[in-house]
Symmetry: C2
Subunit: 311 residues, 2 copies
C-alpha cells in the first residue's frame, strides 16, 4: 500500500480514483482533439463544434461540454486561445497515486496510467523539440472529415471511456476488498452523477449496472456497456489504426483497446512468459491438462517433474 493510501480512508480513496478517472477522461479528449486537428486538419473552433454536438449524445458530460467552450474561445490575438496555450500539462499527484495503488492491488489500470505518463511526456518540452528534429513526421495532406469519420471517433471515445471506467471501478472494488471498506459502487456512481468534474450521463448506466443482482464482475460485462462496446468495436479499431498509421500518439485509445483485446482472450500468450520464467529461474508453471505445479529440467535431461509449490 502506498503512503498516500495508507494515510487516507475510504472517502479519500474514492476521491483519488475520481481524480484518476478525470485524468483519463481528459487524455481521451485531448487525443480526440489531436486526431481531429492533426489527421483531419480541423481548426480549434471547428473541433469545439464537434464536441458541442457530441454533448447531445451518450457522451454528455461536464468535461465534453467545457471542452467545446474552451476550444471555441478566442483570445485577444483574434485566434483560438488553445492555439496559444503552452502544451505542457501539470499535475498535482492524485493521478499518480491512483496508478501506484492499482499496481499494489494488481489491477490493470492502463488508461489512467497512460494519461499520467502522457502528462509527464508533455512536460519534457526540450526533449520533444530535439526528438522532433531527429524524427521528422512526413508531411501528410489532411483527410476530409466525413460525418462517418466524426461518428467513428465519437464511438471510439465512448468505448475507450467505458474501459477506463471499468478499470477504475475494478480498482475501487479490489481496494474495498483489500482494505475491508464495503464500498457501494452504485452509490459512488450516484454521488459522482450528482456533481463533480466527471459528472456524466454515462454514470446513470453505471448505477443501473450495479443495481443488478448479482452485479457484473466487470462493467464491460454489464449489458448496456457490452452492447455499446460491441457496436463501437469496428470504429474503435479504425480510429486507432488511423492514428497509428498517421503518427498521432493515442496512448489512452490504444491502451484501452489492448486491454479490451486482452480481456476477451480466454487463452492469452502468458504461457510463453511462464515457460521463460521456468527456464531461467525455475519458477515452475501449471498446465491446462492436469493439476499440480511443474518444472522442466531444461539444462539437464529435459524431463518435466512435479514441483512442490508455485515459485
Amino acid at each position: 500500500m502506498s503512503l498516500a493510501v495508507a494515510a487516507s480512508g475510504a472517502g479519500h480513496y474514492v476521491k483519488m480514483v475520481h481524480n484518476g478517472i478525470e485524468y483519463a477522461d481528459m487524455q481521451l479528449i485531448a487525443e480526440s482533439y489531436d486526431i481531429l486537428a492533426s489527421v483531419y486538419g480541423l481548426s480549434a473552433a471547428a473541433i469545439g463544434d464537434v464536441f458541442a454536438a457530441w454533448n447531445a449524445t451518450e457522451l454528455e458530460s461536464y468535461l465534453i461540454e467545457i471542452t467545446a467552450i474552451v476550444l471555441r474561445k478566442r483570445d485577444a490575438t483574434g485566434g483560438a486561445l488553445v492555439d496559444a496555450i503552452l502544451d505542457e500539462a501539470e499535475q498535482k499527484g492524485t493521478g499518480r497515486w491512483t496508478a501506484q495503488s492499482a499496481l499494489d492491488l494488481g489491477v490493470p489500470l492502463t488508461a489512467i496510467t497512460e494519461a499520467v505518463y502522457a502528462r509527464a511526456l508533455s512536460a519534457r518540452r526540450d526533449l520533444r523539440r530535439l526528438a522532433a528534429e531527429a524524427f521528422q513526421r512526413p508531411a501528410q495532406a489532411p483527410l476530409a472529415a466525413s460525418p462517418s469519420d466524426l461518428e467513428a471517433i465519437r464511438r471510439a471515445l465512448y468505448a475507450a471511456k467505458i474501459v477506463s471506467y471499468a478499470q477504475g471501478f475494478e480498482q475501487m472494488s479490489a481496494a474495498s476488498e483489500e482494505y475491508g471498506w464495503a464500498l457501494n459502487l452504485g452509490e459512488i456512481a450516484a454521488i459522482w452523477r450528482g456533481g463533480c468534474i466527471i459528472r456524466a450521463r454515462m454514470l446513470d448506466r453505471i448505477m443501473q449496472a450495479y443495481a443488478a443482482s448479482p452485479p457484473p464482475a466487470n462493467l464491460l460485462l454489464a449489458e448496456a456497456f457490452r452492447n455499446a462496446v460491441a457496436a463501437a468495436e469496428g470504429d474503435w479499431r479504425r480510429v486507432v489504426g488511423l492514428a497509428v498509421a498517421s503518427g498521432v500518439a493515442t496512448p489512452a485509445f490504444s491502451s484501452t483497446l489492448a486491454y479490451y483485446d486482452g480481456l476477451r482472450r480466454a487463452r492469452g500468450p502468458a504461457n510463453v512468459l511462464q515457460g521463460l520464467r521456468d527456464y531461467f529461474g525455475a519458477h515452475t508453471y501449471r498446465r491446462l491438462d492436469k493439476p499440480g505445479v511443474f518444472h522442466t529440467r531444461w539444462g539437464q535431461d529435459g524431463e518435466e517433474v512435479a514441483a512442490g509449490s508455485p515459485g
Copy 2:
C-alpha cells in the same frame, strides 16, 4: 519515493530497473509470439525457428535464445510444451516497484508498466473466460507469413525494445539525479552485458552511446538507435496496425509506439488539458507567445488576466 525505493540503495535500484526491463522484454516476446500464432497461424515450433533466426541478428540476446528453446520443446504428450502451459503469469514485485518509482519521478515508463499490467490481466483467467464469451472474436483465416512479414515483426520488436530501454535508462538517470547517486549508465550497460537475464548485443550500443561526449539526452537520440528506429518505423506501424485490426492485444508494442509518436511532437495536445484545467479549477496556463502565467475568467467576463504563480 515508494517504500521499496526508500529501503534500498543505488545498487538495489539498478537491479530493480533491470528486472523491470526484463518484464518488458518478455512481454514484447510474448506479443510477437501472439501475432505469429494468432494472425499467421504458426505453430509453437515454427515460431521457435523464427526466434532462433532472429537470434543471429541485432536482436541477439539470452531471452531471444531461450525463447527459441522453450517454444521448440515438446512434452510427454508429443505436442509443444507451451501449448500445455497455463496462460497466467506470476510476478514477484520488482516490475511493479519499477513502475511505481517511475511514477514518483515523473518518468514516462510505458513499456514496463504495460508489461506489469499485462501480467495482472493474465491472472484474471475467470474474468477473461467470461469476457471471451461476451465479446467473441470473429473467425479470421490465418495470413500467410512471408519473409517480409517476419522481418517487419522483427524490426518492430527491435524498435519497441529500444524505446523500452530508453525509458528504463531515463528512469535510472532521473533517479540518480533525484537521490544523488551519480550512476554511470554506460557502466551499468557493460555490467548487464557481462551476464544477466537481459544480456544482449544491443547493450554494446548502449555502452557506446553513453561513451559519447556529451551523452545523449535520451537513448533514442543516439545515432545507432535513431537510425534503427527510423528504419523500422514503417514496419512498426504496419505490425501494430495489423494487431489492432486483428484483435490481438499488443500493449507493449502499442505503448512504445505511442510514446515515440508523443516524444517526436514539438507541439503536443496538452494545451487542451491546460485549458480545461484552467476552466474547471483556475489552475492557470502559460502561453507560447509571451512569458508569464495566465488565467481566463471563464465564468465572468471571459477576459484573460495575468495570474500570480502556476497553480
